[in-house]
């Protein structure tokens, strides 16, 4: 079997396995739902068929046994017991292991358990040729289809919805599957197009030819349309990764002995495919933290007059050019006193440091605050929070944390909609050009002459009665020479903070194709990437969140921490 065929099989098998897991978890809440049982059965059946076809005989044999149990369930009138669901999830894990070429666990014991759980009837599954495989790298939905394509299962929805994975075969007519690589390539091409278009615009402007100018305008319009269309194809709902959160919460509830309810809101909120993929890991980490350390055990909760089951809420919504994702729990909240003690112990702050509650809470994101390094470890609230924080800032987003003792903790992730193309404001500093993401720009003002003093101690700007700190970029960049007389201040904001960036000149706004910096430069936090300008030169893109952080001048005790962030 060549690699391409294998990849197709894997993609298909992965989505079947995911759909299977979703179905099994949904069966927990709706054990008698025929549609769900049918769906699980169909997933198993398709998996068996394709597995056999592609030479995974061990897998096919195991799935055959698994399928038999569900065939019994289907033909009988029994409902899926929680015992059956639990062992089915184990069987699911075994399938995943088999796909990965490992053989863990004891397949015979699992199959015996399955048979026992359905009362050991031995039915013969009939062939079901009517079932189309449900697999997708990206499902593209062509309208009149009323539902988003990716298999969304309303969590614990009061109404029993027979759609979800089960209805997917019917959708295959209106969606097509595209490999993610091709989409990436398409985005790259659009990027090139936007760059070429910028060059054309520059040449047209110089030529002064009305014909050329008008063609250029057409091309610009088309390129913008192309960009928007391509980006919308890449948009993926958050629901494409929430399936694994349900499973995680199920497992965590088992492990910790705490009943946990996971509430998902705004699952259909869409983000760029690459952002969604990279979000899974930090979100799983936050959920683990919330379940393990946020939520109290059931007895304590009852004593506190809280519902016995803890609630973890994951919600997502759009806010301007950003997406806000919040993970909240209704547990005990963070203990500022303990955080402080730990931070002092770790040498992050001095014992007499005077910090606000908010500043104390933010310490959990400091590198070195936690003892364990790996994201997967489960210990001490705050473990690996620095990893979460780093992942999010790599995605050019930011993390906020809010906690009320006894009420719970809320973590807010702000993320840009896309990582590929943004609108940028091109500025000049000492003859060098830089791009500032336009979405972060609030306003542009002249630098008042009295403030143009290199030695000024308090760098604050009065904008209509509000004081905004400002950073001369010449200083940040170590640029040579002295600035001219008419410097501008670009006021940018991020995560509630604002800073004025002093530049020599505003060149204009343009579409900016973001190119990642190589590993040689990715350690420089003040730049989030680079872009290619109309004349072919490279300009760096400023990272607004880290500049805002840099402008904050905290008490000396937190300086070390501040450096660690920037």
């Amino acid at each position: 079997m060549d690699e391409e065929t294998l990849a197709i099989f894997r993609a298909e098998a992965d989505s079947l396995v995911e759909s299977l897991e979703g179905g099994l978890l949904a069966l927990q809440t709706r054990p008698g739902d025929r549609a769900l049982i049918d769906q699980v059965f169909r997933d198993l059946h398709t998996l068996k068929g394709t597995g056999g076809m592609f030479g995974y005989t061990e897998l096919a044999a195991f799935v055959h046994g698994f399928e038999s149990a569900f065939e019994a369930l289907r033909s009988g009138s029994s409902v899926a017991s929680s015992e059956l669901v639990a062992i089915s999830l184990k069987a699911h894990d075994h399938i995943v292991a088999l796909l990965d070429g490992q053989s863990s666990g004891d397949p015979d014991a699992i199959l015996a358990g399955l048979a026992a759980a359905v009362g050991d009837q031995t039915p013969i599954p009939g062939p079901r040729p009517d079932v189309a495989p449900v697999a997708a790298d990206i499902d593209i939905v062509i309208p009149p289809e009323p539902q988003p394509a990716l298999r969304v299962q309303p969590p614990a929805a009061p109404v029993s919805v027979p759609e979800g994975p089960a209805s997917a075969p019917a959708k295959s007519s209106s969606t097509i599957r595209i490999s993610a690589d091709r989409l990436d390539e398409m985005m790259d091409r659009v990027g090139e197009l936007v760059i070429a278009e910028a060059r054309l615009a520059e040449i047209a402007a110089k030529s002064g030819s009305p014909t050329l100018m008008s063609v250029t305008e057409d091309i610009q319009r088309l390129a913008t349309g192309m960009r928007d269309a391509t980006m919308s194809i890449r948009m993926t709902p958050l629901s494409s990764i929430t399936g694994r959160f349900r499973r995680l919460v199920h497992d965590l509830a088992d492990q910790t002995g705490k009943p946990i309810e996971l509430v998902l809101e705004g699952e259909d909120t869409e983000l760029d495919k690459s952002v969604v993929e990279q979000l899974a890991e930090p979100l799983m980490h936050l959920i683990r933290n919330a379940a393990d350390h946020g939520l109290e055990d059931p007895m304590t909760r009852i004593d506190l007059d809280k519902p016995m089951a803890g609630t973890i809420t994951l919600s997502a919504r759009h806010s301007g050019a950003e997406v806000l994702i919040q993970l909240a729990d209704d547990g005990q909240g963070l203990d500022a006193g303990r955080i402080r003690a730990k931070a002092v112990e770790r040498g992050l702050i001095s014992a007499e440091a005077d910090l606000s509650r908010n500043e104390l809470l933010r310490l959990v994101f400091a590198p070195g605050f936690s003892t364990a390094e790996r994201v997967t470890e489960l210990s001490g609230r705050g473990v690996g929070m620095d990893v979460v924080s780093r992942t999010i800032s790599d995605l050019r987003g930011s993390v906020d944390l809010d906690s009320e003792p006894g009420q719970g903790t809320r973590i807010t992730l702000r993320l840009p909609l896309t990582l590929a193309i943004i609108d940028g404001l091109l500025v000049e500093v000492a003859g060098e050009r830089f791009t500032i993401p336009l979405a972060a720009v609030e306003e542009i003002v002249e630098l008042p002459e009295i403030l143009d003093d290199q030695q000024a101690t308090a760098r604050l700007l009065d904008i209509r009665g509000r004081l905004v700190p400002y950073l001369p970029l010449r200083e940040v960049f170590g640029s040579p020479g002295r600035p001219g007389p008419f410097q501008k201040i670009v006021v940018v904001s991020s995560g509630g903070g604002r800073v004025g960036l002093v530049v020599d000149r505003i060149i204009g706004s343009n579409q900016t194709v973001i190119k990642q910096l190589s590993p040689l430069h990715s350690g420089l936090k003040i730049f989030s990437g680079a872009t290619i300008l109309g004349d072919g030169a490279v300009a760096l893109i400023l990272d607004v969140p880290s500049l805002v952080t840099r402008s904050k001048r905290p008490s000396p005790s937190v300086n070390r921490l501040q450096e660690a962030y920037v």
């Binding site: 990027g191 170590g478 910096l517 040689l520 420089l524 936090k525 680079a530 030169a537």
Partner: protein
């Protein structure tokens, strides 16, 4: 370093290389690594970047970091002249394929070095840090040095983990001087 033995096979015939001049020295780079050789283009300075790699260039629509091996080998760094070239190389960084530019004071020729003429760098007699030299060869009574590019970039990546926040104005020591 194990990289040396693994990247060089003394038993097989010869090595296709491109020779170039850096400072007063002649270096050879495997022809297979070189994607293209460019005339100097507009170089964008990266404020705060380590001295070894302060620039970015546009290579056919790709933003490519521009490294200066002269910093590593402590060579004289002359200004951009008529013979200056940028060699675009295909390397691997952190396990992933990466395109990197390196600056050369001049590019000479594509040639062949026989494996027999390769030697390890002598412990004395050169100022080059040995861990960054893969081998040296005698050609036409002069010495050609083959830099160990994987080792050089791996070292640059490990040092950039602690970013230079203030501008050091060119007084920063090359990494090898710190090692010894």
């Amino acid at each position: 370093m194990s990289l040396v033995s693994s990247t060089r096979d003394r038993t097989s015939g010869s090595l296709d290389v491109v020779t170039l001049r850096l400072g007063q020295d002649t270096l050879a780079i495997r022809a297979g690594l070189i994607r293209e050789v460019l005339e100097p283009v507009a170089i964008t300075r990266v404020p705060g970047a380590p001295e070894f790699c302060t620039g970015l260039v546009n290579v056919r629509g790709t933003v490519v970091p521009l490294a200066d091996l002269r910093v590593i080998f402590g060579m004289h760094r002359g200004p951009v002249g008529p013979d200056t070239r940028i060699l675009v190389l295909d390397l691997s960084m952190e396990g992933r394929a990466a395109v990197v530019g390196i600056i050369a004071d001049a590019v000479h020729e594509v040639t062949r070095i026989s494996q027999d003429s390769l030697q390890d760098v002598p412990a004395v007699g050169t100022s080059w840090p040995a861990q960054f030299v893969e081998a040296i060869a005698n050609r036409d009574s002069s010495v050609v040095m083959i830099p160990d590019l994987p080792a050089i970039f791996a070292s640059a990546l490990s040092t950039q983990a602690t970013p230079v926040s203030s501008h050091s104005g060119g007084t920063q020591l090359p990494p090898h001087q710190l090692d010894r």
